[in-house]
Each structure stands twice: as structure tokens, then as C-alpha cells.
């Protein structure tokens, strides 16, 4: 009996060609009017060669993207226990608000008198972020978390140069996300790594030994990438400040403490916030995000342009250093920041409210500790004690098998769940970092636990093949990443003669 279908389709899973393979020359899915005559002012530089874009009708386009969407996992479909990503539910109310006429259709360069509501919205968002973090100033323009890190470090460098005390080194824990050292380089700094101690926190002695008058900044994620609260953070802040350096906090894990701890109270000088993590704006398959950065008094004067000012008689937008009575270090982005993401985040904040956000962080931490408690007899939890919103396991539980963390993750996929973060942080071997978030129900968590326990059990048996050959039930099975990197094919090309 043949097992392959005629077209290779599998029920609702359709083998969908590229748009370039569905071209009908001259076809369009849009009916645009015939252009009238007018003076040609292209200066003789009209495009002569065809671009090479394919033509499809509207039904074909709708079908194409619908079919593509059916091959994607999503939060709407299931849990994404990705550590430090905070894949919480993305409310559709946020989408509706972002598209309201009077918000979605505002041009960034309209006269400021015609967009007072938009500036007020940015001001309100800024107020929420400053209040939740206990910090006096905020820069809304960074486009994503990494961009926010850059904003923080640029302000640090501007402040130090303003003091006449330029320094050359940034300290980063070895458990840090890769964006941290990459950002330091973009700011002209050399990077030095600080090891973790046996408890998974920053080694305070090593930090103190590395602090000197050439250190500009210490970048710390708190809770850290091992899912643990840095309990010596007040001592860390003191040590950093005593050395004349600034204290940057990577706010990727803010979901664990929002409404319960204010980074400003911890001695932090600057922190970026990922609106697309803590504040529910959608990940969209890779963005857009938004990374507003909050600042202490010491760094407040250096907030980049543009920023909103409540003049008492309406809102103003300060768009250049010349217009500012502060010392903005410059501009990081075109226009005013990710406004559409601001609307979504504010819609979420208003929905949750102060009490809701506090409950969210409690539930996020509760959920992570719950799965930790139900898994730590079959998986090997890397550090003792309560975790925050995410729990870190390592691959010691697989040591008597030939199954790797990667194989384990691929087997989870066949059971309908996106795997946790793998191989990060680098401080443990074969890391598995799980963050359920607060929007998972207890039933969902119990099912997740049952799945992981079942796989852990299966891994201990003589079942390597099951894991090595996973996944089997997905639109594609394991893909050859080596070939993709050795001979990169990054675009479609017409066949020779086509």
C-alpha cells in the first residue's frame, strides 16, 4: 500500500510552493486605476528592466499565506516555555487599540498641535514604566531590547565623558545574553567576563576584584538568566558605585518582579524593558519589539532625543539636542519610537492594572516553581532554592543515555509543544531553561509536566532512536543546517534561461 500522498500533502498540511513558482505574468491581486497623464519628472532615470516580481490573484495570495501560517507554532496554539522570552498571551484588544483611527493613521511629522493625544499616550506609558521601576526618567525610542541596552550604555558613556572620566571596560556576567557584550562593543567598550558562583549568582568577590577606575559599567540581568534573583544585588550596586561605575540592568526578566520590586530601589542606574515580553505585545515571528529604557537621576540628563515633555500647557516633543535644556547624547532611531507597540503595551497595562501586574508576576513565579517541583526528580535542576519566573535544568539527567538536550527538545515537538530554551545560559552543560509565564492554566502546566516526565522516562530506556529521529510529525523534520551554512541559498533565483 503506498504511504505517500499524491501531492505530498498531509491532510491540512499543504506543500506550498514559493510565490515565484506561482507567477502569472501581468496578474495582480489589486485593481488599481489607470494612471492619468502628467509631466514625467524622473530625470530620465525610469526603471527599464523588469523587477522580476511574480503576479498572483487575491485568492491565491490569501491561500498562500493561510497555508504558510498553518505550519507555524504560536502562543495562540500552545505553550512556549522559552526561558527569558516571556511568551505570554497576546490580547487582541491591544491590536484593536493600535489600529484606532486617530492612532494607527497618525503621521510622525504632523504638527504637534494635531497629535496631542499621541504625545499624551507616550507620556502616560512613560509614567507607568517609571512608576513600576521606581526610576525618574525614561527613553521611549529604542526599538527592541538590544537597542535599549545600547541606549543605556550610550547614556553611561555620555555621563562619564561629561564628568571628564571616560573609561574603557564593561563587565558582563558569563551567563549574560549575547546582546550584552555585543552592545558593549558597539559603544566602544572592551568586555570582561565575571564568573558565576556555585549558587548560580554573580561571584561578588570576582566582581569586586574586577572593578577599578577603568570600568564604566556592570551589566546584570536580574532575575538572572539562570532564573535566580541576585540576592547580593544591593552589595553589587554599592561596589559598582564605589568604583565610580554605573549599574545597568537587563530587564528581559522583569516579568518575575513587576509590581513587587522596583529596580530603582536596587541601585540600578539604567534598565531596558522589553514591551514584547513583560507587557504582552506580540513577538510577530521576530519583531517588532520595543525597548524603552529607564534611567536614574545621574543618567537622566543624557536621555536621547526625541522625548515628550508635559509643558503644563500641552505636550511638546523635543526632537534635537539644540531644542533640549538637558544633555541628550543624540538620536538612536528615526521618528519617535515604536508607537504602535506603545499603544499595545498601554492597552495591556490598563487592562491588568497595578494589582493585575503584581498578580501576574506572582503567578509567573508560582508557575515556574510548580513545574520545577514536579520535574526535579526526573530532570536535574541546576541550582537549589526557589527559582523566579523560570527554572534552569541541565543535561546531567541524560548522562547515562545518548540523548542530548537537542534530541530531547525535538521529541517535545512531536508531542505538540514548543521546546524550552536550549543551551542557554552557557554556565551549565546542555541547559534547558523553562519559563511557562502566568498565562498558562494549571491544567496546561500539568499536561506539560506529564509530557516532560514521559520523555525523561523514555530517554532512560533504550530509546535513543525515538529521540534522534524526532520530530516525525511536523511539516518538516530535522533540517540540514550545515548545508545551509556551507552553501548559503538566501533567495530564489530563476532557472537558467528563465
Amino acid at each position: 500500500m503506498p504511504t505517500r500522498t499524491i501531492l505530498g500533502n498531509r491532510g491540512l498540511q499543504i506543500e506550498e510552493p514559493l510565490i515565484f513558482e506561482q507567477d502569472t505574468p501581468g496578474m495582480s491581486g489589486c485593481d488599481l486605476p489607470e494612471p492619468e497623464e502628467a509631466t514625467n519628472r524622473l530625470g530620465g532615470l525610469a526603471r527599464e528592466e523588469a523587477i522580476g516580481l511574480p503576479g498572483l490573484s487575491e485568492p491565491q495570495v490569501v491561500r498562500h499565506y493561510t497555508r504558510l501560517s498553518q505550519k507555524n507554532y504560536a502562543i495562540d496554539a500552545g505553550v512556549y516555555p522559552l526561558g527569558s522570552c516571556t511568551m505570554k498571551h497576546n490580547p487582541r484588544l491591544n491590536e484593536k487599540m493600535a489600529r484606532l483611527p486617530g492612532l494607527g493613521d497618525l503621521h510622525p511629522m504632523q504638527p504637534v498641535s494635531t497629535v496631542q493625544g499621541a504625545l499624551e499616550l507616550m507620556d502616560v506609558l512613560g509614567h507607568w514604566l517609571k512608576t513600576l521601576t521606581g526610576m525618574p526618567a525614561v527613553a521611549l525610542s529604542p526599538a527592541a531590547g538590544a537597542h535599549g541596552e545600547l541606549c543605556g550604555l550610550m547614556a553611561v558613556r555620555a555621563a562619564l565623558e561629561d564628568r571628564g572620566n571616560a573609561r574603557k571596560v564593561v563587565l558582563v556576567p558569563d551567563s549574560a545574553h549575547g546582546t550584552n557584550p555585543a552592545t558593549a562593543t558597539l559603544c566602544g567598550y572592551a568586555v570582561q567576563s565575571i564568573p558565576a558562583n556555585a549558587r548560580g549568582r554573580v561571584d561578588l568577590d570576582a566582581l569586586k576584584a574586577a572593578l577599578n577606575d577603568d570600568v564604566a559599567c556592570f551589566m546584570l540581568t536580574n532575575p538572572n538568566t539562570c532564573g535566580l534573583f541576585e540576592d547580593e544585588i544591593l552589595e553589587i550596586a554599592d561596589a559598582v558605585h564605589d568604583a565610580g561605575a554605573f549599574f545597568y540592568c537587563d530587564g528581559a526578566n522583569f516579568n518575575a518582579i513587576v509590581g513587587r520590586v522596583r529596580p530603582g530601589d536596587l541601585g540600578i542606574d539604567c534598565m531596558h524593558i522589553n514591551l514584547h515580553k513583560t507587557f504582552s505585545t506580540p513577538h510577530g515571528g521576530g519583531g517588532p519589539g520595543s525597548g524603552p529604557t529607564v534611567f536614574s537621576e545621574a543618567l537622566a540628563p543624557f536621555v536621547p532625543v526625541p522625548y515628550v515633555v508635559d509643558t503644563g500647557d500641552g505636550f511638546a516633543l523635543v526632537e534635537s539636542p539644540a531644542q533640549s535644556d538637558q544633555k541628550p547624547f543624540g538620536r538612536m532611531k528615526g521618528f519617535h519610537g515604536q508607537f504602535g507597540v506603545f499603544v499595545r503595551a498601554l492597552s495591556y497595562m490598563l487592562s491588568m492594572g497595578s494589582d493585575g501586574l503584581r498578580q501576574a508576576s506572582a503567578d509567573a513565579v508560582l508557575n515556574a516553581n510548580y513545574i520545577a517541583a514536579k520535574l526535579n526528580d526526573v530532570l536535574t535542576q541546576s541550582f537549589e532554592g526557589p527559582c523566579m519566573h523560570e527554572v534552569l535544568f541541565d543535561d546531567r539527567f541524560l548522562k547515562d543515555t545518548d540523548v542530548t538536550t537537542l534530541d530531547f527538545a525535538k521529541a517535545m515537538i512531536d508531542d505538540g509543544v514548543h521546546p524550552m530554551t536550549m543551551y542557554f545560559p552557557l554556565v551549565v552543560h546542555g541547559a534547558l531553561l523553562m519559563e511557562p509565564t502566568e498565562t498558562e492554566s494549571k491544567l496546561g502546566l500539568d499536561q506539560f509536566v506529564e509530557l516532560v516526565r514521559g520523555l525523561a522516562d523514555r530517554a532512560q530506556g533504550d530509546n535513543e532512536k525515538y529521540f534522534k529521529e524526532a520530530p516525525r510529525m511536523t511539516p518538516r523534520r530535522r533540517l540540514d543546517e550545515t548545508a545551509a551554512a556551507r552553501k548559503p541559498v538566501l533567495r530564489w533565483v530563476p532557472e537558467a534561461g528563465g
Binding site: T39, G337, F339, G353, R477
Partner: protein, 447 residues
């Protein structure tokens, strides 16, 4: 609270499983002095109706471009997005999915990124493109750094026709990396000759086409001058629809092309989130920042896609990465590729024609007003007018009459004396003859 599925009984049972009596016990590592004992001073939780009222009220204080005749450009353009796009882009499998690090369950995202990369390469006349950057301005900064890595030189020359935000972001980045930038003066007449500034320490020359003031130029001579000196030509495109009418930067000799993709698929949204585009010659591929979707096969020999050449990126290369970029503009890239696919070659070129016609006719209309002078001899869908008085005052007066009539150059170019009378006006396929007439009437009245 509607987004929190745990009930009180759930919580109690879970605490018992964990072996603690209260959630506070799980926060034991937090120093007591900083642990808040009650919610911060912000409004309490609200249902959908209340949130809609609050945000609706804020929206009500603004004049949207769909409510009045609008002729604004300067790097953000009001175009018609086909209805199907907004529905498709909000499918949960697109909207709420993550970066495609597990390719087996992300083929939808990876395939559309591969299609997007192809489209961007085709539009720009280049060989390879990435899966997006944040926006046009940050793309310029990234291109500058990329050119520096390729040429191993530290100097950049920025055209006076470059969008001031693009310039400012590049200048800011350069400052932090001890990179040397020369900015040519604002160039409303498109008369600058940058080739005189190029030497054998120049990494790149960065120009915009059409320029900030609207002119369309042939960059071939500049491209030759760059290459003779071993420098790269970087071309920025602020209005991507122009590529449907004008010779591509690749055809004019560009080495790196960056741009703003907002015009396709993405609304104005008060300036963001937008879509940075980047494309380059194949030989520079490994120095290009940003994610890349590459074609490969799976264990059953079926074609599929994966993120590739990741060793350029921060999560692997850390301090030696090409950039620190992680999250980029995935959903905006999706809207762009959907819109462009819906248009197709025929639709896209017609769209470009409609834009040029709208602007050309509007320019003719406005130039008939006494005291108003059209500065450009070439443009695509945006041009510069010289007015008999300060443009920012004129724009305020027009707004009071219910017309969003252009952007004063002085809004973006600070302290520039005789540029204060210059007004940048854009027209797209959405501007009707009635709107153009209303603009003409109002402008005459306020001058």
C-alpha cells in the same frame, strides 16, 4: 483578571505541591527592604470597555491622516493597504509566533522571510538581502559599520540629501565607536559633488535616492569615484515604492542598499514600528548584520528553510558580532511581503506610476500659486516648495484649516537659516483631485 487562568484553589494546591505556604516565600531571595508589600500607585485592573474608553479618548485628541487631506512624506508614506493583508497578518500563527529557532515548526515564517529576502534583492537590484532591521535610520548606521568592517577603514561621507534622522542616527553611532563622519550641507538643489571628498581612508559614501528633498539622481559616476578609491557606495531608499519607477540602486553601482519598507503593508502609526531593509553584493554577505533565512533540505529530502549564518550574530559571536540586533521587524516584513505579493510586478509598477502622477499634478497645481516655487526638476512622489514665508507657520495655518499640507524642512533640519521657507510635500495614490484642490485653495489663503 481575564488573562490570568489560575484560580485561588489552583494557587493553593500549587503552593502545597511546592511545599511553601505563600507566594511570598518564593521571593525569599529578594532583600526585605526592597520588596513592595502592596501594588504601586497606578490605576487598578480594567475591563475591555474601560480600556477602549481611555485609549479612544486619547485617539480622539488627534487628527488622523485618514480624516483630512494629507500630503506628508519625509520617510513615512500613506498608502492603501489591501484589506486582506490586515486579516492575514493577524492570524495567530503569524502574530503570536516566536523567532523561528525551531525550524520544524516555523516553516511558515521561514518561507515568507525567504520570499521577502528575494523581493528586497529584486527591488534594490542587489544579490542578497537580510530578514529586516528596525528601520531606515538604524539601517544606515548598520550599513556604515558594515562598510567599515569590509574596507577596514573608519571614515564615512554622508550626503546632504540624506534624511536628517538617518544622518543623526549614523552620526550618533559613529561617535560611540570613534568613527569619523563628514556630513555634507543640506542639499535642496541636489548640486553637491561628494566625489571630491573621497580619499583612500573612506569606507563609504552614503546617499539617498530619491533624496530627502525629492530629487532623483544618477549615482553611477559617484559609484565609480567610490570604487576607484576602494570605498563602498551605500544607497538609502526612504520610499520603497519609488523602486517601481526608478532605476535600482544596484543598477547604478551601489554596494549596499538600505531602506525604509514602511510604505508597503505597514500603516503610519505615528512613526513606528517600521521596517529596515538591507541588501548587498554576495561577496559582502558575511559582514551583513541581521537574520537570514536560507534554503536547505530535511532528512526526508524535502525543501525547507532555516535561519543560517548565525555565527555573524550576537547570540553566538557576542562581542565580535556584526551587530547586537536580536528582535527585528518580523511582522512588518510579513506585511510588506504580503502587500508586494498582492500587487505583483504589474500592480507595483502601476502603483509607482500613480504616485508619480499624483505628485507631478500636485506640483503643477501648487506652483501656480503666487510666491510658491517648485524647487525640484526631478522627483518621484515628494518635492520641495519654496514659500514666501516660514514654512512652519504655513503648516500650522493649514492644519487649522483642516489640511495636513506637507512638512517644513526646518522641522528636521535645525538652525538652517534660508531653509526655513522650504516645504516638503508628498502625494500618493490615496490623494484625490478634490484633496489636491482643497490643498491648493487653503495654501493660497494662508500665504
Amino acid at each position: 483578571m481575564r488573562y490570568l487562568p489560575l484560580s485561588e484553589p489552583d494557587r493553593q494546591e500549587m503552593l502545597k505541591t511546592i511545599g511553601v505556604s505563600a507566594v511570598d516565600d518564593l521571593f525569599k531571595d529578594v532583600p526585605r527592604s526592597v520588596l513592595l508589600d502592596k501594588p504601586v500607585d497606578l490605576p487598578a485592573t480594567a475591563g475591555e470597555m474601560a480600556v477602549e474608553q481611555t485609549i479612544g479618548a486619547l485617539a480622539g485628541k488627534n487628527t488622523g491622516t485618514s480624516a483630512v487631506p494629507s500630503f506628508l512624506g519625509v520617510g513615512a508614506y500613506r498608502h492603501h493597504v489591501p484589506s486582506a493583508i490586515d486579516y492575514l497578518v493577524q492570524r495567530g500563527e503569524f502574530l503570536t509566533s516566536y523567532t523561528p529557532y525551531q525550524p520544524e515548526i516555523s516553516q511558515g515564517t521561514l518561507q515568507y522571510l525567504f520570499e521577502f529576502q528575494t523581493q528586497v534583492a529584486l527591488l534594490t537590484g542587489m544579490e542578497v538581502a537580510n530578514a529586516s532591521l528596525y528601520d531606515g535610520a538604524t539601517a544606515v548606521a548598520e550599513a556604515m559599520l558594515m562598510a567599515s568592517r569590509i574596507t577596514k577603514r573608519n571614515k564615512a561621507i554622508l550626503s546632504g540629501g540624506l534624511h536628517p534622522h538617518y544622518r543623526d542616527v549614523a552620526v550618533n553611532q559613529a561617535k560611540f565607536m570613534d568613527f569619523q563622519v563628514t556630513c555634507a550641507d543640506p542639499d535642496p538643489l541636489a548640486t553637491e559633488d561628494l566625489s571630491a571628498l573621497i580619499d583612500n581612508e573612506t569606507a563609504c559614501v552614503i546617499v539617498q535616492n530619491p533624496g530627502f528633498f525629492g530629487q532623483v539622481r544618477d549615482l553611477s559616476a559617484l559609484s565609480e569615484a567610490c570604487h576607484e578609491a576602494g570605498a563602498l557606495l551605500v544607497v538609502a531608499v526612504a520610499e520603497v515604492v519609488s523602486l517601481g519607477a526608478i532605476k535600482s540602486p544596484g543598477a547604478m553601482g551601489a554596494d549596499i542598499v538600505i531602506g525604509e519598507g514602511q510604505s508597503l503593508g505597514n500603516g503610519l502609526s505615528f512613526g513606528g514600528p517600521y521596517l529596515g531593509l538591507m541588501a548587498c553584493r554576495q561577496k559582502f554577505l558575511r559582514q551583513m548584520p541581521g537574520r537570514l533565512a536560507g534554503e536547505t533540505v530535511d532528512v526526508e529530502g524535502r525543501r525547507g528553510w532555516v535561519l543560517t549564518l548565525s555565527t555573524r550574530e550576537q547570540h553566538i559571536r557576542r562581542e565580535k558580532a556584526t551587530s547586537n540586533i536580536c528582535t527585528n521587524s518580523g511582522l512588518c516584513a510579513l506585511a510588506f511581503t504580503m502587500h508586494l505579493t498582492m500587487l505583483g510586478e504589474a500592480g507595483f509598477t502601476r502603483l509607482a506610476k500613480l504616485n508619480h502622477v499624483a505628485a507631478s499634478k500636485l506640483a503643477d497645481r501648487l506652483a501656480t500659486i503666487e510666491g510658491v516655487e517648485l524647487v525640484n526638476d526631478t522627483f518621484f512622489n515628494e518635492f520641495t516648495l519654496r514659500l514666501p514665508k516660514a514654512a512652519n507657520e504655513v503648516v500650522e495655518a493649514l492644519a487649522e484649516k483642516g489640511i495636513l499640507g506637507g512638512v517644513p524642512v526646518s522641522r528636521l533640519h535645525q538652525g538652517v537659516g534660508d531653509l526655513g521657507n522650504l516645504l516638503l510635500v508628498a502625494a500618493t495614490e490615496l490623494n484625490t483631485d478634490d484633496q489636491a484642490e482643497a490643498f491648493q485653495t487653503a495654501l493660497k489663503e494662508v500665504l
